[in-house]
Symmetry: C3
Subunit: 151 residues, 3 copies
């Protein structure tokens, strides 16, 4: 049932190619959190380090507008690296092409939406909850399917 | 001595298959930290965001029962992704099957134990120290062996 | 233009071998942050957990010397795992050997420098800014090149 891995982890495998594409998007999305944090720190003059605050003649302080972006970033850190691992595991199980591509697409959309409703245009719940649980559920599903496959 | 990688990163390689299996367990273990944090937030009504606190008629606040789970989660984030990388590096060095499988098993048990004694049933030291240093030492060992191999 | 992946992700590919080598260095660099944090916690008797503080007859407290190392560690966590993913993506695009090896080398030097000027011998800005943006720019470049390749 399972193909040999060399053919699964190759650009000829549509599932792997799709995974690589969405991985690029997710890496760029996560990288974007750093300049977003930086711009909020500038705007609210809220810096974590004395050497940064000094340039603006302020003392280091916390600001919830900055902390909100940092919580969104931390949520990415908690979730997206596990998707990268789960995505490779799942690709190795040689899943249905259509289902795999849908899962990668929906995951990526959910994580972009999570960032927007958390840190760009804060929306009332359950906007953030729904986008988070969608990504979480997809990662759990892919990992459980992989676990069953590798037992 | 080293086999070509296509045969090392394949399901025919018992070391790689073992690594994939324990990776599934570790991904699920890390994912579990999010609902654990959520349940502690509910129980102690301690939320980080106004839109979450509002639903419980409280203000955002810190609670050490929540923060303890978050520290355990952060410790996972600091350590487990490096194990995923070190595990692939080490697998590529084509190590002894028995040793590699033992290292992956002991690492996984140590990290599950770390979570339990840190965040589920907090125990006095050195319970947490021992479980942490076991995982840390295994990651250092695998990475140093890989570095020597790739020099 | 693109080779089949089995030959790209093999030790015969100089780009991949170089990526594996620098990955070892970066894993060890990140692992080093934990004992560095531990030594600062001892020195300043600033612990996060009651069970750790108890051994020193103190209460848990924050100390900026510890927090500075933890910010440096968190910055690693935000950036280096994305380099591991971006490095694999970029290697799969079969880039110029010389350019790829230079990017991996400069990235590694920049991240080691970042840790030194942030947490070992704190220097005034722009030392930290320059080392951070060098690593960030390289990750963005590798990911955008990969995205174009996989479109």
């Amino acid at each position: 049932m399972a193909q040999a891995i060399p053919s699964v982890l190759s650009l000829e495998n549509e599932v792997f190619r799709s995974f690589l594409f969405y991985s690029c998007i997710l890496v760029l999305k996560m990288l974007f959190m750093s300049p977003l944090t930086g711009s909020k720190r500038m705007k609210h003059k809220a810096f974590a380090n004395v050497e940064d605050a000094k340039g603006f003649n302020v003392k280091p302080k916390l600001d919830d507008n900055v902390e909100r972006v940092r919580r969104a970033h931390l949520n990415d850190i908690e979730n997206i690296p596990l998707f990268f691992v789960a995505g490779v595991l799942y690709t190795i199980t040689n899943p249905s092409v259509y289902l795999a591509k849908m899962l990668f697409l929906v995951y990526t959309v959910a994580r972009v939406a999570h960032t927007i409703v958390y840190a760009v245009v804060p929306l009332p719940q359950p906007a953030r909850g729904i986008s988070w649980v969608t990504g979480f559920g997809i990662t759990v599903y892919m990992t459980v399917m992989s676990l069953i496959h590798f037992l």
